[in-house]
Structures are given as C-alpha cells and as structure tokens.
Symmetry: C2
Subunit: 245 residues, 2 copies
C-alpha cells in the first residue's frame, strides 16, 4: 500500500506522499511516489501515485517518454490545461492496462493504480485531480478540497474534522503530517520518508520537495505533542452518565 | 458494513456495536448486532457480529436453537469455558457456510461474517475472542487487549494511541465512543444507535445494555468537545520549519 494526500487551498496546494512499497511482508522497499514537472513561469505539475509499483512506474515512464515525443497532445510539458494533463495520466494508465491488464488478471492480481495531479498552468487557476485506475478522474472543489490515495482510512478522520480550504499552507502541512502519523502508527504498509510539495498559487515556480525521514526532529515533536494533546483532551472529557457496570 | 469494538480490561469488558446495515446505498436499515446470554451467578456471554446480515442472523439463530437442543457441546448456556463458546460460534458459522457458501459464491458474494465473543464463566477469568468467517478464532491478551469488527480503520488510530488494559471501564467507554464518532463521521455505513455492554469482572451479572441514539446528549457533547479539543491541540502545535512554499 501507500498513502498520498493532496489538498487544494485558497493559497495553493499541499501534496504529500509516503515512500513504502511492499509485495508481501518480506519484500518491503523505499520508492519516491512524487514527480514534479516544471516550466519556469509557465507551469508546475506534480504527480503522485499509489498502487502496484510496476503499474505506476510504467505509467510514469510513458508520461516521461511522451514529453520527448512528437505528439503534443500527450506531452504534460505542453498540455494547455491541467485537465489535459489529467487526461494524459489517464491515457498512460490505459496504455499500461492494455499491455499488462490481461496477464495480471490471469494471475488474479488486481489492476491497482491511482494518481493525484496537482499544479497550475499559466492562464488557469490552481487545480487538483484524482485519476482512477480506469483512467477516468475527478477534480477537487471547494466542497471537497482534498483527495487521498492508498491506505486512506486511518488518516481521514483528522482531515474530516480539521481541514478547510481557507487554511494556510503552513497549517495544512502540519495537518497533513498528523494524518500521515496516524496512518503510519496504525498501518505498517505506509512508511517514511514523507515527501512534501507545497505550491503557492500563481507563483508558477515549483520550489523544493521537502523530505522528512523517520527521525526528523519536527515530525518526532509533532507526533509526541499530538499524542500528549489528545490524551489531555481525552482526560478532560466527562465520563458517560451510565449506571456502573 | 458495521463497526464493533471489544476491549478486555483488568476491570472487565467494554463491548460496543453500531446498528446500521446496508445492501447498497438505498437499502439501509437498523439491526442490533449484540446478543447477551446470562445464567445468573454462573455465566455472562456477549456475542457481537459484523458482515453479511443474512449470514450473521443465520448463525445467531442456530446458536439460539442449540441452547434448546440435546447436544450440550453446542449449547452456549452449558459450555464449560468461553473457549468452548467461541468454538460453538465458529461451528455455527461453518454450518451456515455449508448451507449458503456455494450459492453465495455463484453470485460472486463474499462469505463475510465475523463475531466477537466476550464474557466470563464461573471458574474462569474474563475473556474475549474474535471469530473469523472460517470459524477459527483468536483471543485477546494483555499485549492486544482490543478487537474491532467491520469498518475498523477510521476508529483505530485513537484506540492505538490511548487504550491500555489498566483503564477504567468508564474511561474505556468514553474512548470507545470517540472511536465510534470518528468512524461515523467518516463513513456512512456505520450508524447509530450504539449499543454498549460493560461487564465488571467476577460479577457474573450481565447488567443492562445501554443504547445511545444519534441525538443522545452525552454523545453530542462528547463529539463537540472532542472536536474542539483536537482543534485547540492542533492550533498550539508549532508549524513546520520549512522554507515558505
């Protein structure tokens, strides 16, 4: 499994992915699941993936090859909108399905791959898309400003409770890291390092992908203080007005 | 889906179940998923279930029929240990599988049913078991004092963070209700009323099953204060020491 979160804010975007892949419990490895394309002052495109690594890597290799090809309609560096970029990612997934789908099916393996595409292309607003294994996709809106991929359930309650689109990039980063911490604490298939990509709208500049390892001092402090805070909130809550057992 | 939690404490047991069942989004109904057997001063047995309602109801009907039958080895009112009660529940599941398994398989429907069995039989300690669809089962221990059934992931982080076996029945009830609240907020297939069964060890007395409806004042207050508390802990946490996006 994997865990990725993408949040579309009024200020811009926060995108984050873990690095663990596993095929069974004895075949665990580390892969970055975040790819950034940038054309300075013109476009910033971040692509995050989850699912079967062979499938997502194949799709990403196709997308990369297509940036050097003749067909502009498949080139994420030339697509006129982020909607078109999402379509290109969908097309790559469909091509991979055409090549690998039948063989996987014969082995009883699910065609499991999904992507987040976030960023901005000059002339457009900042946008965020969730692309499904079938290559179709949905876009984030003010009502639903975040998407998750992979092992989504453990880290969803805290996002459901605290996230809103008018939060700052800084606060959202903090919240996303808490969501990762909740997930990593409860599920071994999600693991560090965590990659963080934050995009300030209309900057059309990609900045640096931050990498937080397991021993990262900020992450450790956040984990400890969040756990302590939860415990103290819990202790202050009144007990149930029930007869004693 | 469903959500059930069972916790084995030094003080006794806290068991809780939701009441929502759904077969598709347009066929939602309310069923209690908790059954209590009591022989005063001799045994208390609570059985909680999750999964396909047709399967769990069939298994429960068999268990009930067997209490009126001739075969003591299948009678939860006469079983010499809670281990034997767990076996009886497993046997009921296997009988249901024998009757329904092949037909379900032809319809591509998974044989999805699982149970918690908690309680005490005179002469034994208080025990808690988790019975799988295949009828096999595991028992709670001090290292892993809680089991969940059904839609388990949303409500697991808060249990992982705060639960320990030396908590009081009252505090554990509060925590289990927070776990239910997190689950119900993020997933529509889990819903009230919530049934709560608390057992004080060595009492060999079942007490009353508490029923908390959606409008329950304590539940509403807990929900609001927990959300407010989380928000204030979140706001007090330091921001990430990263360059601005």
């Amino acid at each position: 499994m994997s865990y990725c979160v993408g949040v579309l804010l009024e200020q811009g975007l926060v995108l984050s992915s873990d690095s663990r892949t596993n095929a069974g419990v004895d075949n665990v490895a580390t892969f970055r699941k975040m790819t950034i394309y940038e054309v300075a002052k013109e476009r910033v495109v971040a692509i995050l993936c989850a699912g079967n690594l062979a499938l997502t890597q194949s799709a990403l290799s196709l997308i990369e090859e297509w940036t050097r090809g003749d067909d502009d309609s498949l080139n994420v560096l030339k697509a006129p909108s982020l909607f078109r970029v999402a379509r290109i990612v969908g097309s790559a997934l469909r091509e991979v399905h055409g090549v690998d789908g039948e063989a996987l099916s014969k082995f009883g393996t699910e065609f499991n791959a999904s992507f987040l595409v976030g960023g901005q292309i000059a002339g457009e607003r900042t946008r965020l898309f969730h692309i499904y294994a079938a290559g179709n996709f949905i876009e984030a809106t003010p009502e639903t400003p975040f998407f998750q991929l992979g092992e989504t359930k453990y880290g969803k309650p805290v996002l459901d409770r605290l996230l809103n689109q008018s939060m700052t990039i800084e606060d959202t980063t903090k919240l996303v890291l808490i969501s990762f911490d909740s997930t990593m604490r409860s599920n071994l298939s999600v693991g560090p390092p965590i990659h963080l990509f934050r995009y300030l709208k209309d900057s059309l500049r990609a900045g640096r992908v931050a990498t937080l390892t397991d021993g990262d001092a900020y992450l450790l402090g956040l984990r400890r203080r969040w756990a302590e805070g939860l415990r103290s909130v819990f202790e202050e809550l009144p007990g149930p007005p029930l007869d004693p057992a």
